[in-house]
Amino acid sequence: MAKLTLEALRKMRNETQQAMSMRDSSKKDVQVIVGMGTCGIAAGAKDAFGAIVDAIASKGLTNVLVRQTGCMGLCHSEPTVEVVAPDMPAVIYGNVNADVAREIVETHVIGRKLLDGHICDRPSVDIIANK
């Protein structure tokens, strides 16, 4: 990769910001984000990740992006999975084993309903997005 100049870094920031706000609805408009810190992995986040990827493939969904992230801080409810879908509030699910992971795809991603019994509170406001 070429070294960035100041302008190139700014351009990259703008482009990625736009890509992340998912304005291009023809492509992936749903994000499923799995917490993969040491705590999450120890609690089984890799199983949840695998189950989500399999469920998405077997349902033939092409609009879903599965991502990893670090610890969301909810150690008491690991593994945690966040789902961001258009026209729905972004929510974090806790204690997501492989079965719950499949239910999340079934109910939230496809059925567009929130799943009972697993939602955790978002820890705080986002100081970056709330500029």
Binding site: T16, G70, C71, L114, P123
Partner: protein, 595 residues
Amino acid sequence: MAYQQYLLVCGGTACTSGQSLELAANLEKGIEAAGLSERVQVVRTGCLGFCEKGPIVKVLPEGTFYVCVKPEDAAEIVKEHVVKGRVVPRLLYDEKQAKTLVGEENIPFYQKQFRIVLRNCGVIDPEKIEDYVARDGYKALEKVLFEMKPEDVVDEILKSGLRGRGGAGFPTGRKWQFAAAQPKGQKYMVCNADEGDPGAYMDRSTLEGDPHSVLEAMTIAGYAIGASKGFIYIRAEYPLAIHRLEVAIKQARELGLLGDDILGSGFSFDIELRFGAGAFVCGEETALLQSIEGNRGMPRPRPPFPAVKGLWGRPTVINNVETLANIPVIIMKGWQWFSGIGTETTKGTKVFALTGKVNNSGLIEVPMGTTLREIIFEIGGGIRNGHRFKAAQTGGPSGGIIPPQFLDTPIDYESLAKIGSIMGSGGLIVMDETDCVVDIAKFYLDFTVDESCGKCAPCRIGGRKLLNYLKKITDGRGTEQDIKDMEAICDAMNKASLCGLGQTASNPVKSTLRYFMDEYLEHVNERKCRAGKCAKLVRYSIDPEKCKGCTMCARKCPAGAISGTVRQPHSIDQTKCVKCGACESTCKFGAISHG
């Protein structure tokens, strides 16, 4: 069609015992009666914390937070909030206090946590530099390299009031100022990621979740003090954090955000990792420098301070991971913003690893000045299994125990020192009445004796002596004179040890003596441990009046210490009993107790 509104009803244990499920059913009925089932979904959640104020209802998407909601409040919530879009003020949590703590940041509804250090943790993919850049990553670096002189950067950090989060709380700007004032030449910037206190994992999680924030901060610090080289000292026991740092450094180098002539600014800076083998003393800055140089990690007296004479005798700034993760935000938002958060003497936030007997253990970040009560009972959801709060330990093996009378003390460096503990790096361990304070002091001493490097006598010998006394007391052989001797040793270690390890190792003993002397005296005078933790002092017995002779306990006992005939009262052979407590938890008739 998607729903437009969601009512989240807490389905945690505390809230369900407060009839939250009836409440959810009532809300559903009300919404159906209003003909809005297609538009509004009622969802039962896991525990939302805040169990003290349950049942909790949270309305999405806007986030209205209702507390102490009863099943009969459902009708009003539906009629007012759902149908007319007006909040029900009487059910809201008072949000005034949070507003004053976090300055002008606009908090729509009640929120205890405030994330500066953890801003990206759980949001970005830590292995994608693009994710970090999109969230204003490396924007502070741009500003520093192209709009600020090194002395402006130092000044900004100085004015922000940021203090070191590695434990001692030294003003970060002052440290940078010292190093910047040294004559030009080779200088170094070091990140301390050794994090070895039992129960602490704040720095590891930050590095795992947001490695670029630390790289960016180190580069900014390098620019401010005139260093071209940085080291991250991280323990080899943190493989995932190491992996993510390696990926991040590689990406930053490829894009020219590390290396020569960063972004064409003419400033060059690079970072290397150094692995620690997991010795607690190597977290102490002078020992850490020895370890980076390839020597055995042993502390040396200060001065000279590392900012004057550090790595290979060159000026070196050492900062903790959490301290550094604050830097890019301070540069971006300005010192005024940062110094508006926290208390008079301590600005910003603190990350805690909240563990022990709380319902919701986790990694939390709160504004300085938050109270222990808010942390334990609101964020942490209270004490597990309906037990009582006994004490909290902050600062790990260098810290002290905080008893219930200080639950409402606003947390900052000074207030914690005043009550005999320290902020430390952020481990926060919660204890209930089944924890014995003498046993806890023994646990920490065991750790520091193990980790003492042995260079100075007060720490090497004093620590061992203290541990021996504690063992004697928990074994039921202690005397009141032992307690007096321990107090003298604590003082001597505190005054005469070479480094922070020995100087603070006696804190767990000192603070438990200060607040729980009665329990020490019980151990030595009555040979009694009220928590039932000190095995040699515990005696299990069966009440013949209550015992039904069901034989359950005899079958559970791993030592074969219980005997008796069916339907006749049983008894325990004290010489065989191993004090595991299995009999007591098995008995359905409450016939077995310990004392």
